[in-house]
């Protein structure tokens, strides 16, 4: 008669073996996700599974927001109305001049045989909540692929560039903010046309103009606007204002800090720009391989 351990004592592999197995598996997944972006299909499937739970969890918060809007006090609304009127009056001269300038610009561009800008169209969206990852700066907006939001579209608010769409769900989309450490924006100094790339500095509130030579002509107070070189952001949108420039002769680059123009962190209404300038065709040799390697991510977010 063979004697085996009764089934009710059977506990499977040892805990240390199990945890080692799962630790190795997670490490593998993390490396695949961080370095090669191969984990995206898995993420899509899991995100689809988590989507209904997320909707249920977000429902009370969204409902509270709507309720708060509904019961906003009369005086608060009046105050806001007055502020908006004042703002409108302030921007009126510029707006009035804009039509004339546009027409003039049109003529000048035709004279120069320059490529005319495509008309911009946009989707109005509201920020529903902040992303739950403390290591990155992301927000979730209430418009998704069903409303025509696509990967890589720039997002702006009334003051300037807010960020870029980096993940699209059917009814929601994730915006990576300009203050995110891994989010570069190609910019130009308005005063002298100097080009550079601005990144989030990692503290969640300021930006950093990296790789500028120590003697680069950038001063405190300079306004940085998008240069339009990447084909993602249309040209001329305000991004940031330089707040400090530190030139250390020993360092190769100047340490340039900027304050974002957009109200990162406090605004609720944003615009998703849907039709940007036609991007120049990518270099023929490199384009297919790069697209195959990371098909789901936006172009200039790592």
């Amino acid at each position: 008669m063979d004697r085996q351990t009764p089934a009710f004592f059977h506990r499977g592999p040892a805990p240390i073996a199990r945890v080692t197995f799962f630790a190795v598996l997670s490490t593998l997944l993390m490396v695949l996700d961080a370095r090669f972006q191969y984990a995206e299909p898995l993420r899509q499937v899991l995100a689809l599974a988590a989507y209904p739970i997320q909707q249920v969890a977000a429902a009370p918060v969204i409902a509270y927001g709507r309720l708060a809007d509904f019961f906003a006090s009369r005086s608060a609304l009046q105050r806001e109305n007055e502020a908006l009127r004042a703002e409108q009056l302030r921007s009126a001269p510029a707006l009035l001049a804009l039509d004339a300038l546009k027409a003039e610009n049109e003529v000048l561009r035709e004279t120069l045989a320059a490529r005319t800008k495509l008309p911009q169209s946009s989707i109005f969206a509201e920020i529903v909540y902040a992303g739950r990852d403390p290591f990155s700066r992301k927000v979730i907006v209430d418009k998704g692929s069903q409303q025509g939001v696509q990967l890589g579209q720039p997002v702006i608010d009334a003051r300037g560039v807010l960020g870029q769409i980096t993940r699209v769900h059917p009814l929601l989309a994730e915006v990576t903010l300009v203050v995110d450490k891994d989010h570069p924006v190609p910019v130009q100094v308005v005063r002298n046309g100097l080009r550079g790339v601005v990144y989030g500095s990692g503290d969640g509130a300021t930006l950093e103009l990296r790789h500028m030579a120590t003697n680069a002509e950038v001063e405190v107070g300079d306004v940085l606007v998008t240069s339009g070189i990447d084909g993602v952001y249309p040209r001329g949108l305000p991004v940031a204002r330089v707040t400090s420039v530190e030139r250390d002769a020993a360092a190769a680059f100047a340490d340039i800090r900027c304050q974002p123009a957009a109200e990162v962190g406090s605004n609720r209404q944003v615009l998703v720009l849907t039709a940007g300038e036609a991007a120049p065709p990518p270099p023929a040799a490199e384009a297919p391989t790069r697209k195959a390697a990371k098909p789901k991510r936006a172009r200039n977010v790592r």
Partner: protein, 177 residues
Amino acid sequence: MSDEGRVRLGREHILLPVKVGFIATSLAAALLFNMMPWRDLRGVPDLLALVIVFWCVHQPRKMGTGLAWALGLVMDAANGTLIGQHAFAYALLAFGAQTLHRRILWFPLWQQALHVLVLLLASQALTLLVRLLAGGTFPGWWFFAGSLIAAALWPAATHVLLAPQRRPEIVDENRPI
């Protein structure tokens, strides 16, 4: 029923067998809480981690590393974090809790909470390490505040999650259940 009918035995109180459905419900509720949107994440406790630790301590044969890992994957996908980051942290958390489960239950509740705090902090430190290696920036010390609050919730969690097992179906004055 009359209060004398309940035999008070403190920690020795004999519990009813747990219902698997209740474990699943509590995990689902914690997952729901974790997916709730917040304007500011500072000090928001990771209730899912707390519930995982709780069931690993109280029911180590029903809740284990594998389930914790799978829940972590769902968290990763939903939060847009690195795939495997929460999964890794939760798997190690479950392992730690299972390893310590015989020891933890000997202590009074607030000392149990200290054990849980150490487990939660260790798993958060692991997450931090992984993200720093992946090129993230240190978000600030408030990152660990969630664990402090979660550990402070341990006594409350124990009362809530053990409540269904404490209730006798048929009250008998001579039986210590």
